[in-house]
């Protein structure tokens, strides 16, 4: 009996029956993928839930990680969604709700002819199996993610697939929307981007709840930037305030390629985000940015890994959190410089703006350096709004509340201004504004 209880605790709602029902609902999948899914489910079911002694879960509220009370959501039509359009000029859009594609805007003229594929993962598994197999869930994510990565692999239903053949330069961002709809809905969003040599593209992932229901989200994105590719990945997470969310990222940066990622975290009750950039060849650059506005009793747990595997690579991480009310944030980052990765430039910075006396910020900025000819530094600060800046603005006649708002947005601006697209910058800024209005 106790072992049954233990099993129940380990899998929660994601029972073998849940998994069987999922498998029964999918069709035309390649055998290698089905095998991986079955193995992943076994792994998920046997791995323990995070424990107090797990360094990779240090400071996290483990009591919040219960896996019960969720369900396989019913299919939903686009008309049923509380949907707000994304105000951006776009090269194409895929809209998923409850793990299934419900709407799409086709690629801008001429792109498909040049070999760009922007379609569902389901479609890609059937028609571009080798490409998918080489890149789907193929890269490691930071330690601690094992159980939830296994769960994602087992229950991944559909997601976005983007393939950019050599030399393609996308004029406008591609947008992927992932909706969860209905009480208890469990969703497993996925975005896979393969950018071949000398391509340039921006992809925007939007994670949204339709309504205020409680959801479970366990998502992943895999980004591969080939030789000289320039990839911008921006994600806006606005799950409902009741959602438990796990999201991981694995980025591979090849020779002279550059990946910029910006994750905006606004929603969810407890949200964990894991991000890993691997700089695999000389000239590779990764810029990892994140902005979090935590209020109420929200908890945001961000774990990052910058792995320098080759000489002459650079990475720059800037994670900023603004904390209100009783909110809690955790930032745990690690820069790893391998023994032969000389001439590495690696930076990591976590800045916490404390806007409440009850908020809690935890920082664990880490370095593991095995090469000596490197420039590496990290910094972490936690403090309130600078009183001198506040006074300066007040001395110009700006009321205290307005001064604080200006300064808070100034705090975010350092990150947002890194986005080359002004429209994207403005749309993210508006999302933050909307959260502050509430």
């Amino acid at each position: 009996m106790s072992s049954l209880t233990e099993t129940n605790r380990l899998v929660g709602s994601f029972t073998p029956e849940f998994f069987a029902a999922h498998l029964a609902s999918v069709s035309h999948l390649p055998g290698w993928w089905l095998d991986r899914k079955r193995a992943a489910y076994e792994q998920f079911a046997s791995l323990p839930l995070p424990r107090r002694t797990d360094e990779s879960w240090r400071f996290a509220t483990l009591a919040g990680l219960r896996l019960d009370g969720y369900c396989r959501p019913a299919p939903v039509a686009r008309a049923d969604l509380a949907h707000a359009p994304v105000e951006l000029a776009q090269s194409g859009q895929l809209l998923f709700a409850n793990n299934r594609l419900v709407a799409r805007e086709n690629l801008a003229a001429g792109l498909a002819e040049r070999g760009v594929i922007f379609d569902t993962l389901h479609h890609a598994l059937q028609h571009h199996g080798d490409l998918v197999q080489a890149h789907l869930l193929a890269q490691p994510v930071p330690p601690g993610a094992e159980k939830f990565t296994a769960l994602h692999t087992a229950l991944l239903d559909d997601g976005a697939f983007l393939y950019l053949p050599r030399g393609v330069d996308l004029p406008a961002p591609l947008v992927v929307l992932h909706y969860a709809h209905g009480a208890g809905a469990a969703v497993f969003p996925h975005t896979l981007v393969i950018a071949e040599q000398d391509t340039r593209a921006t992809l925007v992932d939007c994670f949204r709840s339709s309504g205020a229901d409680r959801h479970f989200a366990c998502g992943r994105n895999d980004l591969h930037a080939g030789h000289g590719a320039q990839l911008t990945y921006a994600a806006a997470q606005t799950w409902s305030r009741e959602t438990l969310s796990f999201q991981s990222n694995a980025t591979v940066v090849r020779r002279d390629a550059r990946v910029q990622s910006l994750n905006l975290h606004l929603g969810g009750r407890q949200s964990r985000h894991e991000s890993h950039s691997q700089l695999q060849a000389p000239g590779a650059q990764s810029e990892m940015l994140a902005l979090t506005v935590a209020h109420g009793q929200q908890e945001f747990d961000q774990r990052t890994l910058q792995t320098h595997q080759a000489p002459h690579t650079s990475s720059n991480l800037l994670y900023k959190n603004a904390l209100l009310d009783q909110a809690k944030t955790i930032f745990s980052g690690l820069i790893v410089v391998d023994a032969d990765a000389q001439k590495t430039d690696a930076y990591q910075s976590n800045r916490n703006l404390m806007l409440s006396d009850d908020a809690e910020a935890n920082s664990l900025p880490g370095l593991e350096i095995q090469a000596n000819d490197v420039r590496c530094s990290h910094g972490a600060t936690s403090s309130r709004i600078d009183p001198e800046q506040e006074f300066y603005l007040q001395a110009r006649g700006i009321r205290k509340g307005d001064a604080d708002e200006l300064l808070t947005f100034g705090f975010f601006e350092e990150v947002l201004s890194q986005l080359a697209s002004e429209a994207l910058h403005d749309s993210f800024r508006d999302l933050i504004k909307a959260k502050f209005r509430k």
């Binding site: 000389q342 006396d357 009850d358 350096i369 000596n372 490197v374 990290h378 910094g379 403090s383 309130r384």
Partner: protein
């Protein structure tokens, strides 16, 4: 000298001709050392309740201390090694082969001729006085410092200062020391504090009365005897209201310890307005696990400053901490670590803020030479609803060779909007330009490298007492030899 009552039940001494060195705890047959042993009091190897009872009996301790030890032993045995965060190298400690107690007055004997030449040269170049060399090399059982010790003890006694070893202090002044003993660092704080609590011997217990400012630094140096340079010393310093004390331990000469495990506990209590400065310079032999727990409690407007320099050892794990318990208390850790080939310096600091307007400062610099590895681990904790607390942390790592390694693992928790915390860390190497410039002025590459490294730690080294900083500089020069080319 009569044997303690249960001595007959102790395991027999090992055969002195055995190729394994029982005192070292690991096989050193291939090493440079070989010497005969002749112990007066000896708890044998391995750790059991018997060992603990034996130590307590030899020391003629009060029953509450024996109870304290036995409880600690249980906690030590129950606790796993902290390898979920610390290095797996800890698992290589063979607790069964360690000798947990050697009485004073007895030391393994060897002749000066048997001391390896490179060690003799090191002493020479460090300018260690002849007699100290003999002691440090293990040639002499005891360094004749009793006269100097009695002298300093008498001087401070005139001010009402109590300066005694742990056994004497707990026996003669329990009313003063019992209150704080094991309170700053509870037995179960970690596996090694539990170990120390079970088998401690030696170390200094000091009480400074209200308002007394001890003008000269007290030094463990004056207290050299077998116990003091032992494995499990226990130190407790209580600075009563408004008093001031500087304490220094260790010396920069390499210590050819006869044991592979050193696990001390140091507790400091600074009552209202008191100031304690605790200075450590340690240079352990390459086979030593140096696992030390050091913590102080600073009451209102009190100040505790740890100045800590770690060189040598196979693995050092040491994170001096300050619990800032009273309003406006201040805590500081200044730390220098140098890890050479085969060495891992895993050091850092803990600052636990527990009252308003408390401030803490951590400056840690490490140098990794060859395949040496230095790790900084830190905790800064500012809990709920405190106001005006500040922490500033700065970690700088210098990597000398292409395969040198450094890690940084701080953990910072801040609650509320009325406190501020800042952590900065950087990694660098010695600038080629700088080396070239100095070479162009006629210095060898090695000399230039030494100058650079000394420059890197200079702002911290200058906070050490003069004789320590001079020795530190010489030591860095020695360590840097052979690091280039």
């Amino acid at each position: 000298m009569s044997l303690p009552p249960d001595a007959a039940t102790l395991p027999p001494p090992l055969d002195a001709a055995s190729p394994a060195n029982p005192v070292m705890g690991i096989d050193q047959a291939a090493g440079n050392f070989s010497y005969k042993m002749d112990y007066e009091f000896d708890a044998g190897t391995g750790l059991s309740e018997k060992t603990v009872r034996y130590i307590s009996a030899v020391k003629k301790e009060a029953p509450w201390i024996l109870e304290f030890r036995l409880n600690a032993l249980q906690q030590f045995l129950a606790k796993p090694l902290p390898t979920h965060w610390a290095t797996p190298d800890l698992a290589n400690i063979n607790f069964d082969k360690i000798r947990y107690y050697l009485a004073s007055g007895q030391k393994p004997k060897r002749t000066w001729d048997e001391v390896p030449d490179d060690i003799k040269r090191t002493f020479e170049r460090l300018g260690i006085p002849e007699q100290e060399r003999r002691f440090l090399a293990g040639v002499e059982a005891q360094f004749d410092s009793e006269a100097a010790y009695s002298n300093i003890k008498d001087v401070v006694a005139k001010q009402g200062v109590i300066f005694a070893n742990s056994t004497e202090a707990l026996r003669e002044h329990p009313e003063i020391f019992r209150k704080f003993f094991g309170k700053v660092i509870p037995t179960g704080d970690n596996k090694f504090s539990a170990l120390n609590s079970a088998v401690f011997s030696g170390g200094s217990f000091i009480y400074v009365p209200k308002g007394v400012k001890v003008s000269h630094p007290l030094q463990a140096y004056f207290r050299i005897n077998a116990e003091n340079f032992g494995q499990f010393e226990r130190t407790l310093i209580i600075a009563d209201e408004g008093s001031e004390l500087t304490y220094m331990e260790g010396c920069t000469a390499p210590k050819f310890s006869t044991s592979t495990l050193h696990s001390a506990v140091v507790e400091l209590v600074a009552l209202k307005g008191a100031k304690i400065q605790y200075i450590t310079v340690q240079n352990w032999a390459n086979n030593v696990f140096n696992l030390v727990t050091k913590r102080g409690v600073a009451h209102e407007e009190a100040e505790i400053k740890w100045i800590d320099c770690n060189i040598g050892s196979r693995l050092t794990m040491k994170y001096p901490g300050v619990v800032l318990k009273g309003r406006k208390a201040r805590g500081e850790v200044i730390s220098i670590a140098l890890a050479n080939d085969g060495q891992h310096q895993d050091t850092g600091a803990k600052m636990i803020h527990a009252a308003d307007e408390t401030t803490s400062n951590i400056v840690a610099k490490s140098i990794s030479v060859g395949q040496g590895r230095s790790t900084y681990r830190g905790v800064v904790h500012i809990p709920k609803h405190l106001k005006g607390c500040k922490n500033n942390t700065e970690c700088d790592a210098l990597l000398i060779n292409t395969n040198s390694r450094t890690d940084t693992y701080p953990a910072i928790t801040v609650r509320g909007d009325a406190n501020s915390v800042q952590h900065e860390a950087s990694v660098s190497k010695v600038s080629e330009e700088q080396i070239f410039y100095m070479q162009q002025r006629g210095l060898t590459e090695g000399q230039a490298m030494s100058l650079s490294v000394n420059g890197f730690v200079n702002d911290l080294a200058s906070q050490f007492p003069m004789e320590y900083s001079v020795e530190l500089k010489r030591l860095i020069d020695l360590e840097m030899e052979g690091s280039v080319g």
